[in-house]
Amino acid sequence: MRQKLLLILSGLLMLAACESYDCTLYNYVGLYGKFYQDGVEVAIKDTLTITAGKSGPVLLNRQAGTSKFNVALSYWQEEDTLVLTVKGEDYLLRDTIWVTKSNQVHYESPDCPTTYFHTIQDVRSTHEFIKDITVIRSSVNYGTTDNLEINLLSDSD
């Protein structure tokens, strides 16, 4: 009887010895956007750079031939300013997108990184090469589907 009790207690100790961290594996929170022209997905042939404001961090650095992007939004600002610069050999186009949003903290546990989710309330932009922007998913969270549909100006505009 005593030996079996010791076995039971040993089993309990083994069970108590391990601790697991169940953090979300894919924990990137980003704003996903895709470019369209005349209703058709289109790639920007030259390099696309996105910065947070004119002097903020570079969120996307000289990506070539891309039709989409994803960038991080700020945790606490109520409005983020994204400056999109398209640079070719002999030209430079620059537009600014303002994303107005609310911010919600997302806490998992003491051992997992905390992040912020966002809800897009409004988007507006300048119009050097952007025609208009449609919000197709306002929640910015762990989801990876597009948030913004960015329509570019065409020759006919």
């Binding site: 079996k4 076995l7 039971i8 947070a52 806490y107 998992e108």
Partner: protein, 236 residues
């Protein structure tokens, strides 16, 4: 690293089988001994929870219990406790804290037919806790924009419900003082909490998960006339 649920279940079944083997090894009574319907009441305290709190463990469930002994076979039980957790992530700096009450109700069934002071139980419990918790981080940094700002969410309300099944053994130490061990497998039945984040710890349940193991080491005091009368009748 996450332990597979099948592993947990296997360990639990091994423990149950060990307990039942012990039961079979008991000397079988020559004839069925009968205990009175009301065979006493008992109060108990889980010494592990208090010890964990005393040594500064990251969480502890400190609880006391009371039960009625019916026929020395059925033991309706109530357990009342305070769950305490204060934790800071070493790498993240995230904090979590709660100190809240919880309750469990249930039944112990004594498999030992001989009234020799030892008991081997199968047990089932329903537990719940309506609790508040605080989370925060004093130096929280936006990794992309490089700004820092503390966040703190205080008194987040949550309610947890769970079921426990398990096995326990118990023996008489001296006179009306007994010592008991129990191991329990817990299933979280429901949890309601704010969208901003689930609690790290549920008082009475332990670390928040869909299931988990728990155990107690109880110091038990048999009190009440029924208990003493039963012994005086010489049936032990």
């Amino acid at each position: 690293m996450e332990r597979p649920i099948i592993w947990k279940l296997t360990c639990f079944l091994i423990l149950i089988s060990l307990a039942s083997t012990s039961l079979q090894a008991q000397n079988k009574p020559k004839e069925e001994e009968k205990a009175p319907l009301f065979s006493g009441i008992a109060v108990s305290a889980d010494v592990v929870g208090f010890a964990m709190k005393a040594v500064g463990a990251k969480f502890a469930n400190m609880e006391v219990g009371a039960r009625i002994n019916l026929l020395d076979k059925f033991f309706p039980t109530a357990e009342l406790g305070i769950g305490d957790c204060s934790r800071k992530g070493a790498e993240t700096g995230n904090t979590f804290s709660t100190t809240s009450p919880y309750m469990r109700f249930g039944l112990d069934y004594n498999f030992n037919k001989k009234h020799n002071g030892n008991r081997i139980f199968g047990l089932v419990r329903y537990g719940f806790s309506n609790f508040k918790y605080d989370v925060g981080n004093e130096a929280f940094t936006d990794p992309v924009y490089g700004t820092s700002q503390p966040f703190k969410m205080e008194s987040q309300k949550a309610t947890g419900h769970w079921i426990e099944i398990g096995a326990a053994v118990e023996t008489k130490l001296w006179a009306f003082i007994r010592l008991g061990w129990s191991v329990r497998y817990k299933f979280r039945a429901a949890l309601s909490c704010p969208d901003e984040g689930e609690p790290y710890f549920i008082p009475g349940f332990g670390k928040n998960d869909t299931n988990g193991f728990g155990g107690t080491v109880n110091l038990i005091f048999d009190v009440g006339k029924g208990s003493f009368n039963f012994k005086k009748k010489g049936k032990l």
